[in-house]
Amino acid sequence: MTEASKPSAGVKLPPIEKALFLGCVIPARLPFVEKSAKVVCKDLNINLRPMKGAACCPDPIGIRGVSERTWITLSTRNVTIAEDMKATDIMGLCSGCVLSLKHANHVMKHDAYMKAGVNESLAKVNRSFKGTVQTVRHFAHVLHEEVGLETVKALVKKPLVGLKVAVHYGCHFIRPSELHQLDDPFFPTKLDEIVRALGAESVEYTEKMLCCGTGVNMADPEIAVKMNQRKYKSIQQAGANCIMVVCPSCYQRLENAQRDVKKVFGETYEFPVLYLTDLLALAFGHKPDEISIKSHRPSPKALLASIGIE
């Protein structure tokens, strides 16, 4: 590690242990997001234990829509991997993965009928759900509840002054709110607080809570692209210069749909989409190259250069 890329020395942090559930989209399509997450976790002293043999979460929209029973059985299987590692806390980087595993862990603990049925299937592969995992959380949740924003602020070496961020919460990061117990389902503030802690501005925009459209896109892309147009227009009107997400489905959708909106409506939007972990890494002093910022489309390079990050 070069001197310049070394995170703030001198801040001593208590270690946090997590079983890392990576899911499929991030490692197989967006490895640069995995990279920024790992870089940031190292700085935050979050110890990540890989969950060997973990598979698809599976998708809480697609697979659950086809077979609820398969969905909960496969996500419970993922939870049992953490149990077998004697891990009590699972962390995910994707809102969909966290939803699937959190739902499974909750239902299996509270619904004896479901637990018996799912365990019967799991017995065929010599597994069983025991209920020893205490928390399943998204990285952003861990940041708030376990690391704390004061610590995050103390680690900032390069405040992101000049970034006007349109925060996109995405639906499943906070909803169902009864399950997540994280934030208000209509007026959330947690991610905005993180953005501000990094020195950037969180821009209020009308369509902040509008879905990225991934769900409807599976069945009807025409509706999805209209929703995307509405969202981008609102982001532009509010004067934001980038979008921040915490879910790989939202990430891919909000990057790709800028091309779709151009094709369908002839409107051009060029908002770089950044993951929460990218913003943290940059604010902690890591170089854009280290987290492969060139992999983002549209490219955030010019924007970052304009605030002195190169």
């Binding site: 499929c24 490692p27 197989a28 399509r29 490895p31 640069f32 995995e34 990279k35 790992k38 890989p50 060997k52 043999g53 598979a55 698809c56 599976p58 998708d59 809480p60 929209i61 697609g62 697979i63 659950r64 829509g65 086809v66 077979s67 609820e68 029973r69 398969t70 059985t73 496969l74 299987r77 479901m114 299937s121 799991l122 065929k124 592969v125 639906c171 499943h172 909803r175 169902p176 709110s177 389902p185 209509f186 809570m209 509008l210 879905c211 459209g213 991934t214 769900g215 409807v216 896109n217 599976m218 069945a219 009807d220 509706i223 999805a224 209209k226 929703m227 509405r230 492969s292 992999s295």
Partner: protein
């Protein structure tokens, strides 16, 4: 499509895991008022109507209509329903029933098939494996991305997914032109 009321279907639905909250609905329309898809389709997509049809047991109008799949699963309706009707839970129950009767969008078929065959929705492709190496993500990369497909398939067979995917595959090969015998 005749709009017959099917009490058997209604009663069957009410007994299904996740669908009980149907009976709380008093048809206020709050769910449709906040629904982003209802907004984009000028009300052609309408969650209150799906709940109403479910209460009336209008089976064909529910499971044969592609509208069932237009929900983007944002959970806005569940969060705002004054009666705590679990709309999206009910939609999942309906979708699972529609799948059993063969009504399911292609993208869902493709995804289920991919998860059945590979154990993951998004398999690792060679360029991504290279990108991961360049980013220094793992030392024993090949070892870490081994997915226990066999184990997952056993579970998918036990939970009914195999049967469903087999049907998707059979449909697909019936629709595709027969391969030339010489190949």
């Amino acid at each position: 499509m005749a709009s017959t009321i099917d009490f058997d279907f209604r009663n069957k639905l009410l007994k299904m895991h996740g669908a009980l909250s149907l009976t709380y609905c008093y048809q206020c329309g709050t769910c449709s008022g906040g629904c982003p898809v209802a907004k984009e389709t000028n009300g052609k997509y309408n969650p209150r109507r799906i709940i109403e049809k479910s209460l009336l047991g209008m089976k064909d109008k529910l499971i044969k209509d592609p509208v069932l799949w237009q929900c983007t699963l944002c959970d806005t309706c569940d969060e705002s329903c004054p009666q705590k009707v679990e709309l999206t839970e009910i939609f999942y129950v309906l979708k699972n029933l529609a799948v059993k009767e063969g009504f399911v969008p292609d993208a869902y078929k493709a995804q289920s098939t991919a998860v059945f065959d590979n154990g993951v929705a998004v398999p690792y492709m060679a360029p991504m494996i290279r990108a991961r190496k360049e980013l220094g993500l793992e030392q024993n990369l090949e070892e870490n991305i081994v997915i226990p497909v066999q184990e997952l398939q056993t579970l998918m067979e036990a939970t009914g997914m195999k049967e469903i995917v087999d049907k998707f595959k059979a449909e697909k090969s019936a629709a595709a032109p027969a391969p030339k015998p010489s190949e």
